[in-house]
Structures are given as structure tokens and as C-alpha cells.
Symmetry: D2
Subunit: 337 residues, 4 copies
């Protein structure tokens, strides 16, 4: 439910409406376009009485939101949401590049790589400390040590960092060290983790599950927002289909669809979507042309020696070329990079 207040509504009127909503068992979310005072209401819809609310002083109108996701929907908020991560804005006119190795490996590699990536135009540094691996016998990441390396790199380089939280246990740690917390594709419907993310003060990068529908994806984001954390960034990273020439199938249509249905920023990860470095440039260009707000890409100085996902990582030279090509596309679609 979306409640819009009159321009002339007083603080007192807003508080009274808030109190009524809470008495009805609803939760009030202040998700504003910056133009009007409006409140998103979530909770059991059967106990929220629109008629009564609409008669309160100061209330301009009360609208039901038809979609199953409420706070993330365009109906709740028409304007694009811009999520701030450190000094970087995601979802605005400027495109965003998140780059780095799949897993944090060494201090030197992270620092030097990060410095170079920043110089080449990357905005955020990525690096996995806790790695979700299909096999229990594969390298599982450096854990806390990885986060420390990443956080040190941020201080040294002056570039916000992003890393994945895999469960409610290590969430606190990741939250402490990084600027943007990633929830991976395998955890997109790990509702306990989503609820924990909803209590965080840090922005969340939510990756689409490999077989999630758009509806399920937006409902996963809704879990986070319903908890009070409205800084959610969506990331398409490929779906599982019968295709056998790429690791997953980049669902390019999801970009305009998510933009249509939601006000949240949308990124694309061509590295995981394709699993092939020779696909990174064309898929990134397609993503920006289709309306994505940025790219998340794996870069490694020596891809073939990477501890995980080397076959899909690109080199710094390749990243330089990617930036060059994306700048041209960005301009063509009225964005900057």
C-alpha cells in the first residue's frame, strides 16, 4: 500500500498516520521520490483498512500496489533509486564498473590489481573472501583474512570494496569490513540471509538465482527492503538453460524488464553468465545498450593461475579494451563512464 500525503501535511499528521498503520499491524517505510511525502506500507493486507487511512488529516491518497513485491516496485516509487556505496553512485547517469578477482588471494595482488583497475576506470573493487564452491574439497576462500586484505586495499587505494556474505554467521564480519555486501545466486532464496541483510546499514548487491523468475528475484529484494534496508542493487548473472556453449545463458531481456517493474539499479555480470572470457566484451556492450546501470566483471593478472574461475577472468589489457568499448556505447545511450 502506498500512502501519499498532501504537500501541506504536518509532521504531526504524518506521525498520526504512522501510529494508525502500526496499530493496524502494518509497517511504515519512508521511500520517497524527494518530491512528495509518501509512505510504503507492508504487512498483512487484510488488516490494513484503506478507507479509514484515507480519511486521516493530511492524507492525499491511498493506493494498493498490485504486484506481489511492494517496496521495490515502480508503483511505489517512479524515480530510479540511486544507491550510494562510499563515494560511488549506482543507478544514476554514470555507469558503474565493479572489477576484481573472483577470490582474494594475496595482499600484493589485491593492492596492485585494485590500483590498476582504479586507474583504468573501475569504481568498485570486488574480491571473494568466503567462496561458495560446488565441491566441499575446493578452495573455500581466505575468510576473515581475505576481508582484511580487501579493507586494507580500500584504505590504500581509496576505492569502495564488495564481497559476498554466505550466511548469517559470517554476515557480521563481511558487514564490518566491506562497503557493499553481495548475496550470491545460490543464496537468492536463503530467506534467513535476506532478512539479516534487511537489518544491515550497508547496501546489498543481490544476484539473481540461476533459475529464478523475475517475480522471485524481485520478491527476494523485497525481503531485504521489508526489513528496512532499501539500498538494494539487482544483478543479472545468467540463467540455466539447455545451452551448452556458455556456462549459463545471459537473460538480456531481464534488464529492461527489471527497469520497467522496479526502481532499483540493475547490473550485469557477464563473467558468471558466460563463463568465457571471449564473451565479456560483446555481452557487456549488449548489457549497457539494453539499459543496465553497470557491469560486474572478473579481472585477474594471470587468469590461468587464478585459484577459482580463472577461465572466465579477463586480463588488465582486456579490461582496458572493455572500458574503451563501453565508453563509446555509454555515450550512445546517454550515459557516462
Amino acid at each position: 500500500m502506498l500512502i501519499t500525503m498532501n504537500d501541506s501535511a504536518t509532521e504531526k499528521e504524518i506521525k498520526r498516520v504512522t501510529k494508525l498503520i502500526e496499530e493496524m499491524g502494518g509497517n511504515v517505510h519512508h521511500i520517497s521520490d524527494g518530491q512528495e511525502v509518501s509512505m510504503g506500507i507492508t504487512g498483512n493486507e487484510s488488516t490494513l483498512q484503506a478507507a479509514e487511512i484515507s480519511q486521516m488529516p493530511g492524507v492525499k491518497n491511498v493506493n494498493n500496489i498490485g504486484k506481489p513485491y511492494k517496496l521495490g516496485s515502480r508503483e511505489m516509487k517512479a524515480k530510479n533509486t540511486i544507491v550510494k556505496v562510499g563515494n560511488v553512485e549506482i543507478g544514476g547517469k554514470a555507469l558503474v564498473m565493479i572489477a576484481g578477482s573472483c577470490a582474494v588471494e594475496t595482499v600484493e595482488g589485491t593492492n596492485e590489481g585494485g590500483r590498476l583497475l582504479k586507474m583504468l576506470g573501475a569504481n568498485l573493487l570486488r574480491g571473494g573472501a568466503f567462496k561458495p564452491r560446488t565441491s566441499p574439497y575446493s578452495f573455500q576462500g581466505l575468510g576473515k583474512r581475505g576481508l582484511e586484505i580487501l579493507a586494507d586495499a580500500r584504505e590504500l587505494i581509496g576505492m569502495p570494496v564488495v564481497s559476498e556474505a554466505m550466511d548469517t554467521d559470517n554476515f557480521d564480519l563481511v558487514e564490518e569490513y566491506v562497503d557493499l555486501i553481495q548475496i550470491g545466486a545460490r543464496n537468492m532464496q536463503n530467506y534467513s540471509l535476506l532478512k539479516r541483510a534487511g537489518k544491515s546499514s550497508k547496501p546489498i548487491l543481490l544476484k539473481r538465482g540461476i533459475s529464478a523468475t523475475i517475480n522471485e528475484f524481485l520478491l527476494a529484494a523485497e525481503y531485504i527492503m521489508a526489513g528496512g534496508n532499501y539500498n538494494v542493487i539487482l544483478c543479472e548473472r545468467g540463467i540455466r538453460t539447455f545451452n551448452d556453449y556458455t556456462r549459463y545463458t545471459l537473460d538480456i531481456s531481464s534488464v529492461p524488464e527489471l527497469k520497467l517493474l522496479s526502481h532499483l539499479p540493475v547490473l550485469v555480470d557477464p563473467s558468471h553468465a558466460s563463463g568465457r572470457r571471449d564473451m565479456i566484451i560483446p555481452l557487456s556492450k549488449a548489457a549497457i545498450a539494453a539499459g543496465a546501470d553497470g557491469i560486474m566483471v572478473e579481472v585477474h593478472p594471470f587468469p590461468d593461475k587464478a585459484l577459482s574461475d580463472g577461465y572466465q577472468s579477463i586480463t588488465f589489457e582486456h579490461f582496458t579494451e572493455l572500458m574503451k568499448e563501453l565508453r563509446t556505447i555509454a555515450k550512445a545511450v546517454g550515459r557516462s563512464l
Copy 2:
């Protein structure tokens, strides 16, 4: 790696081999057919030196296991594993029926339903206390109260109970109250949860993710076994395909395939696979004919009033009919029910 000892190997020799393995950084798992003394070794394969191990006194032979999953593979153990849940054996000649409502709702409903199901031939009572729901605004289960109701029903009826643990936080609670702990499809690659399950003394019912390959499914089971919990039951519950007439697509071939590759018991859940009650009987019959060790099915006295998944629940009358038809099939495939 699988180490088989000579029949005449002494305790001391076994201990010495164990010590060597641990010095090499490996973990020793005693997964035995009951015929020979054998040890499954997991860990970093590059540090485990087969040549050295095979020369230890008492060692008969050392075999590498070619599959990425080790402890769950047929190569590790040729004989079927039988998992005991209370007084019920899963994976033996007798088929197993797990039945009950999707979510635990009331004391009376649970007790009366359970009693009736037991009388009709069910072996385990299922009921969700913590419910993974696509929307944050849907009924999320009764939580601890649901577990209490379920545990009380067990005492009253004398029937083991199964319920889902959704995260590492509520795992302890579920572990305390139930006899068999379910890990749901959405959590099949929640590795933190799998690792926690590996430390449990209770058996685990692991459901296949809706887009998991057979390899990924067996590797998820391997996470649990690598932690030392070898009582894992696999459950096929449908995969996501383009089909639009059932909610998911029951992958019937997975039953013989899992039986071929692994010694673990395999159940089939036709309720979630199809999402349609008129499919339960034919799909259950197909599952047993294909070699499944049992069926997990949703039964509700008034399916249309169920708090979740009512459209796929069957009535007690329908369950009676299901039991009758399955008994005939069971006999035809040399099983009992």
C-alpha cells in the same frame, strides 16, 4: 580415496594408517559395508600420497575415486546405505512413506492427522515449522511452536517426525525437536547450512535444487558427509523446465541415476514436483517403479483451507487410495509397504 584393510589388520595397524593420513592433511571416514574394514579419505588430494599409504602394514589396497563426490559414491561403498530414523529404516527392502501437511497448523490437526496417517500406513510425519516462502508477506510458519506441536505428536502417536531447518540459526532448534532434518530445495547450495548439517547427529533429508544437476546434488550431499554425518537421504522434487502444466517437472530418470552413482537412499516428492493433486498417484507409482525408496507427500484434511500449498495436498481418502495402489507396485518390484 578409498583404503581397504586386510581382514587380518589389527587395531594398531588401522590406527597407524589413520595417523599417517591425518599427518598428510586428510580426513578419515569409516564408511563400511560391514564386510571389509575400509576408510574413505577426503581432503586435498595432492598431499595424500597413495604409494606411501599402500605400503603400510595391514593395507590391502588404495583406490582413487574418480567422481568429484567421494563419500557418497558407489565406488566408496557398493552396498545401499540404510538410514535409521527412529525405528524406521530408509533405503532397505521396505518402502517408506513420509506424509503430513505442508505447514504445522494446530495441535489437534497435527495429532489427529498424524494418528490417521499412521493408521493408513505412513512411516514418518512431516510438517513445516519454519517455512521458506517466496514472498516476505506470506505465512512463514509457526516457528518453535510448530516444532513443539510436532514433537508432542511424535510422543502421542509414536511416529518419527521430519521438519525443515532453514538456516544455521534455527538448525539447533529443529535438531532438538525432530528425528529427521530436512534441507529444502532452495537451500541445497547453502553451504553453511550443509556444513552445520554435517556436524549433526540426526539424519538429513536433502532435497534437490530446482535447477541442480545430479553432480551438484551429490556434491551437496558430500558437504554433509565430509563433515562426518553419513546419514543422508536424497529427495527428487522436480526441476524447473519450460513445462507449464505442472509446477516443476519430475525428473524421473534421476532416481535410477542416483541409485547407480550413490549408495544413499532416494525418495521422491510428487507434491512439490507437480503442484497438482491429480498427479500424486501416477507419479508416486512411477517413482516406485523406477526404484525410489519411498515417497514424501503432502496430506491435509481440507486442502483448500491449508495455510500453504493447499492446491497440491491430497486428502486422507486420496492417501488411502495412494497406499493401496503403491502396495501393488511395491510387490511388483520386490519391495514391501
Copy 3:
């Protein structure tokens, strides 16, 4: 539209109704349960005026058929259709086994194989003369010579034969030589071929396309029936999914679903569905348990030397075992074999 006539309706009344329908631009199909005189009407629904028709003398009632497929639907005909191929009935109480090599190869192989299969319990002999091959450089079948070999085998052995027609050009030839004409999965939506099949006096075995929905499958059958050929047998042969351990994924749920929606017989082809000979027995058992009317299977004396699809063919020994196991399942589901 389904028109049911009174028991006492005269030939003259039936003719008058027929004439009216044709004047309205409709086509009359006599698809009867043997109990009542009824007529299925197809054509542009907007020009068929139910009210006017229902007032004609002799008309008991007029019902619209809600499904997009009409003649193949259960609404049109409640009783199962039994298709006769030579002296074999498909769709009745007795199950049907269609067996033989993927491609017709030699006179001796076909005759000896056919004789043996008949002895072991097969009802129809299959063999491809025109082979649809993914590559233009693969063996394309013996063509007319293959059909002659097959037809000679029929005379010698006394067993009806089935072979595939790949296009409207070779349909005449196939129709001349065989008893049951197969339309393959790749051609399920080759509408010109379906229309040609609708003009044939021979029964048609229609295989489901690898990504066809149930609705599309029944509409493909409808193309044949709308042309006047009501002897259509449906065959599930696996759909394409992300699964990588079988060639396709047997959609076992399609069997009860097709039986529910349509009165046409339903067979299952485990050879193409799985592409693996070790899957044939469990999948065949599952198919019969789920309600299929029979099995279509590839058998070859020396599978590894077969000119096509050898890896999925079973030997005669294996077929003997299959028959034995299926007889037990058949009995359990009230069928004979």
C-alpha cells in the same frame, strides 16, 4: 463443438444437421464412443451458431469445447481411443511393445531381429528408412530400399511395421509400405506433413517435439485429426532441459496429463528420452506405472556396431529382461503384456 444426437435420431435428421453445419462453414467429424451418435465440429467458431443447431430435430445437445484442441480432447470423447495397427490394438487393456533397430540396415538383420523380437513379445517392428540426422554428412538411411526390407519382414514374420515419414515427398512411399507411420520429434510442428498425415488412411505415431508444451503437442495431433485421420498415437520421447546426464529428460508427468486431456493412446520412448541403455528398464517400468499404453524401444543385436544411435540400443538379452520386468508391472496396474 460437440453435437450429441438423440438415441432416436434418424439418418435423415443426422444428414440435415450435417448439411447445416457445412453451410455454416464447419467440418463434421464422426468421433463416436459407440454409445451415442455424436459429431465433432471444427472450423471457424464465429460462424457456427450453436443456438440454431441445437433447435434442429434430433439434436440432444450442443457443447462448446473449451480447449484449443477439439477432436483429440476428452470433452469430445470420454472413452479411450483404441488404434488398430494390423492385428494389434494400441490403447486397450493390453500394453504394446514396439521394438527394432534405429535404422533398417540389412535384410538378414531385419528378418532375424524381427522374428526374435516377435518371439520375445514385441507387437510391432520398428526401423528407420528415412533418417533425420543432425548433420548432412551422417548416414541418412536406406530410403526406399529400407522400406522394402521392412515390408518383406512383415510378410515373413507376420508383424506390423512402423517407419518414419520425413516430408510430404516421401510420405506416399512410407504410407505404401508400412502399417503405422511415424512423425518424428523434429517434425512435430511441420504442419504440411501433419496435414498430409491427416489425409492418410494409415494410423500415425506422433512424437512430441523436444520443447513442445502439452498444448502444442495436442494441437499437432489436432492437425492430423482435423484432416480426417483420427488414428493418432501420441509418444513422449523426452524434452530438452539443463540436465546433462541423460540426452533428454523424460517428462513422466506428461503421461497422466495426456491421458487426462485426451482420449488418444500414449506411448513412451525411453531410448531417445535417455540416450542410455542402462536407463531403459527403469524408465519403461515408470512409464507403465504412470499409465502409458506401451513402450517404443531400440533393440540391436550389436549395439556398438549400429549405424545410428547404438549407444542407446539394447540387446535381445536386455529386451528379454525388459519384457519380464514389464509383465510384472503390467499386472500390478491391471494391464496385460
Copy 4:
């Protein structure tokens, strides 16, 4: 097999090599980059003796082609193929726009629509005369009359036309009237039709089947090329996945992949891929950014009154906007429009 001749090779030497190949049972295809004299050889590889061929006078070298498709592969020909349709070049620097209504409906609509589309920048006019429809009771197209209307429009407007041939029967007719013959997605593995197309002197637009792998798609093109018709244009039009918000899922990665593996031109059809007019512009932009050689789109003056596929057609206003946006992207990727 690819045979490259010396620059100094004489006509006589080429003829001698050709004769030898034919004696060995091979077929010679003159697929040249325009730089060297080279010959693509197809046929049974076991009878083609490379050693003997390489010793013939004038032969520079003989290479085996590792891919299952030969003539369509980059190994056969490194340079992009440009297919000429009337005065339009497909596959060159200039992008190509194929536009028009799904089905040819009226003379006026076709002429006026075509004139307008040409003015707005379209290069080819599309229109279906023979329509493959899922239901036998849907509008099946105007047939020959539709082709006449289309051919008249070409004369009037001076714009090449494209229409679909559905079977070997109506292929002759379509071939007579149009400039570019389409083979639809449902017929991608209709091998009889592909072979007929291989004998045509007109270029072929081959659409990818909704569940075809890239390998199967290129092998379908190979059927046409093996017959001697090298003017094949590939068209990605969406694959079938679990996605439910677009009709099919545009497989954007197929564009760079096809470009990598083959020298044939690649178009994208966003209308069928998405089934939604609000997706046409972003998907077209993505396609061009990913490297496609052009777009095939459905345009209809009154989409809601279209006899087929109206929901996915765009208006002329919408097409004007599409052209404007694509021109900017085209420039950004070094193409013209």
C-alpha cells in the same frame, strides 16, 4: 576439408584436383575469400585421402576442419560472408533492417506499409503468406495471393521482399515470388526443406529452432550449403526456457558465438524472441551492440487488429524511434544504418 591452391595454380591444375576429389566421392565447393583459390570439400571423410590430394600439382595445403559443420565454419572461410538480396548487402558494414507485418493481409496495407517502412529506413519488406500456426483452426495466411501482393509491393516500392516457405511443396512458389526465402524456427530441422533450399538460387534466411543448440543451428545451415547454396543468413529469435515474462528468451550470447564460429551473417528477431512490443527497442540495441548484422522486426499500422502476432508488433511511430536509437548504437560500434 579445405584445400588451398598456390597463387600460381592453373585452371588445369584446379580441374585435376576437382576430378580427383570427385573420384574419391567428395563434393567440391568454391567458397572463396577472394584472396586465395580455395575449395571446401564435403562428403565421407574416410574416403578422402589428404596425403594424396596434397601431392597434386598446384595444391598449397590441405586442412581438416575440426567442427562438424564445414562449409559454414570460420575455418573454411575467415572473412565475413556478405549475402546480396536484390540491391541490399547483408553482413557488411551497413546494418540491415527487415520489417513488415507478421502476415500479408491486404494490398493497400502491404503497399502503404512497405512504402512507409522504406522511407523510414527499412531495407527489406517481410510478410508471411504461408503461416505456420500452432492450431489448425487459426488463420493460415493468404498463400499464393499473399506472395503476389508481396511481389507487387516490391515492384511498386523497389524493396526486396522476404517470406517463409513451409514445405517442399510451396517452396517453388515462394522461390518464384520473393528475394529472400525464410525457413522458420519450427522447420530448422526439417531436413527435406533444408535440402530443397540447398538447391535454390535465392538466399535463405534460417531461423534458429527454439531449443536448438548452436551446433545444431550451424549444422542446419550446413544442410543448405552442402547442397550448393552458400547464401545463408542466420537469425536468432529466442529460445525456450523457464522464463515466463517474455514469450521466449533472447539468447544474446549466440550472436558473438555465431560470429566466432561462422562467417555467415547473423540477424536478431526481437519480436518473436520477446513477444512484447515494449522489449523491441532495448533488445534491438543489445543485439547490435553484441555484433548482429541487422534486425528483423514486426511492424503493423494497427497492432491490435493484426491477423496474427499483433501483441508483439510495433507501430510505425515506434519503428521511427527504433531506427533513431539504432543509428546511434550503429555508429558506436562502427556500423552504419
